[in-house]
């Protein structure tokens, strides 16, 4: 165990030379290569990070667009539903209105038909009643009945209220309209005189009175003076029965 001093110093020199050589041939190139690679990796990493951030941004953008599309779709769907509902309601309303119109038209038609039917029934009934009454009265007509009819007619003339009587007098004074007396049967002369006297007395008419015979009057007498008429005949009773009949059918006569 001894130190050879020549070897000792030679080994120091050798070691220092080796340090220099390895520094030149090993450490510097290797470290430079490692640093360059690290820089490259760092650069790639940064690029990757940038691309990742860009990709995340793009994803976020797409998600936002998707959300917007979804919202737009929902909004459009909502609008479409609303328009559809409105359209349906409009169609329903139109259909209702149309149905109502048709119903009203049908009801009007029905009422009209009902009225026409009622009128027809009434007319037929009236005609039947009048025919029956006329036939009955014709069968029963005699001097007593005609006398009773004239009496009732004279009573009706006399029972005319004052206002109407004055109005008729005024009309007869202004307009020299002829007073006309129509009867269903032939009036005897004494009856005519009596009637003329009553008319002149009651209405203050001094002109000529025309007597006519009319088969339309059923066993009755009618006085036409200045647009007014005073009458008594069986037709009035028949019409009264017709009015009652129409009332019972649910409508006005």
């Amino acid at each position: 165990m001894s130190i050879d001093w020549f070897t000792f110093f030679a080994q120091i020199i050798n070691f220092l030379v080796l340090v220099g050589l390895l520094r030149w041939f090993l450490y510097q190139p290797i470290i430079a290569a490692m640093n360059q690679r690290e820089a490259k990796i760092t650069q790639r990493w940064n690029e990757a990070q940038g691309k990742l951030a860009e990709a995340e941004q793009t994803v976020a953008l797409y998600q936002q667009q998707q959300t917007e599309f979804e919202q737009q779709r929902e909004a459009m769907l909502h609008d479409a539903r609303r328009e559809s509902d409105e359209h349906r309601e409009r169609l329903t309303r139109d259909a209702r209105e149309e149905v109502e119109l048709k119903r009203n038209q049908w009801l009007d038609g029905l009422k009209r038909e009902q009225a026409e039917s009622a009128d027809e029934v009434r007319e037929q009934f009236g005609e039947m009643a009048m025919h029956s009454a006329r036939h009955t009265l014709m069968e029963l007509a005699d001097a007593d009945l005609e006398t009773r009819v004239v009496e009732k007619f004279i009573e009706r003339i006399k029972q005319t209220d004052d206002a109407r009587r004055d109005e008729i007098r005024t009309l007869l004074a202004d307009d020299a309209t002829q007073v006309r007396l129509r009867s269903a049967f032939e009036l005897p002369d004494d009856v005519r005189d009596r009637l003329s006297a009553v008319v002149r007395e009651t209405l203050g008419y001094q002109g000529e009175i025309a007597f006519q015979q009319s088969s339309a009057l059923i066993c009755g007498i009618q006085l036409d003076a200045g647009g007014y008429s005073i009458q008594w005949n069986v037709d009035d009773f028949v019409r009264g029965i017709n009015a009652d009949f129409a009332t019972r059918l649910g409508r006005d006569a």
Partner: protein
């Protein structure tokens, strides 16, 4: 070299007639072989270095070795390994390769010579103050020997010398003993056991290279550590004071 030779220094291959002390012994020659191997291998690998992500196997091996050494230096000294890598890394590589080549028949590791280990330890012994003065300045470095009290000056000096001696003798003893034990065992048990001893010798050589390099780095790191006098009124909130409770901080990182 026969079995009774203890040191490879005594295996002289050439000697000058004019100056008898100038000679080429096996230590120097094998050292040159190791140097040639290291330099040639480094040159061969680094002549085509790839800076891309795909590298050759040999470049990968070298990068792993260099990177590992840098990490070790950074871990031991807690500072940038740049200025220490060449010295400490070469120590490790030289000792490691010199020891591992002992598996080659006829090869004698130069580290089995006390002259070589003493030379390496002397290099460390010289490098420590050089690095210390370079980092701290001569005054601050020399004051390092007076701490914690000037009475410790002789002990610090003895410590410096003794650790250098220990560094040299530890490596020399381990490597020489391996060689000698192997040589002796061959005489007793010629089969199998020498192989195991060779394997053990490889392991020992690797560990010794690591120990030598790490100790060198520890000595350098301790020499480059800047001492700071504590303030009379310590601030509890000062992170620097808390982190460096011993009053030391690393010069490389806090150099102002």
């Amino acid at each position: 070299m026969n079995g009774v030779q203890i040191s490879v220094d005594q295996w002289v291959l050439w000697q000058s007639d004019v100056w008898p002390m100038v000679k080429l012994n096996a230590t120097i020659v094998f050292t040159w072989c190791v140097m040639a191997l290291l330099v040639a291998g480094s040159w061969w690998v680094t002549r085509r270095l790839s800076t891309d992500t795909t590298v050759s196997k040999f470049q990968n091996v070298l990068e792993v070795i260099v990177g590992g050494m840098r990490d070790q230096i950074r871990e031991v000294s807690s500072r940038d390994p740049g200025q220490y890598l060449a010295f400490v890394g070469t120590l490790f590589l030289f000792i490691c390769v010199a020891n591992l080549l002992s598996i080659v028949p006829g090869y004698q590791p130069p580290t089995a010579s006390l002259s070589t280990t003493a030379a390496l330890a002397t290099c460390v012994f010289i490098a420590v103050p050089i690095y210390g003065i370079a980092v701290q300045g001569p005054r601050a470095y020399l004051q390092h020997y007076l701490r914690p009290t000037p009475l410790m000056l002789p002990f610090n000096i003895v410590g410096e010398l003794s650790r250098t001696l220990a560094l040299a003798v530890r490596l020399y003893g381990n490597m020489m003993s391996g060689t000698v034990v192997a040589a002796i065992l061959i005489g007793f048990v010629p089969l199998f056991v020498p192989i195991l001893m060779q394997v053990l010798g490889l392991l020992t050589g690797l560990i010794q290279a690591y120990i030598f390099a790490v100790l060198a780095m520890v000595y350098i790191a301790s020499a480059t550590t800047v001492y700071h006098q504590r303030e009379p009124t310590p601030k509890a909130a000062d992170p620097e004071t808390n982190e460096n409770s011993q009053g030391y901080r690393t010069a490389g990182e806090h150099h102002e």
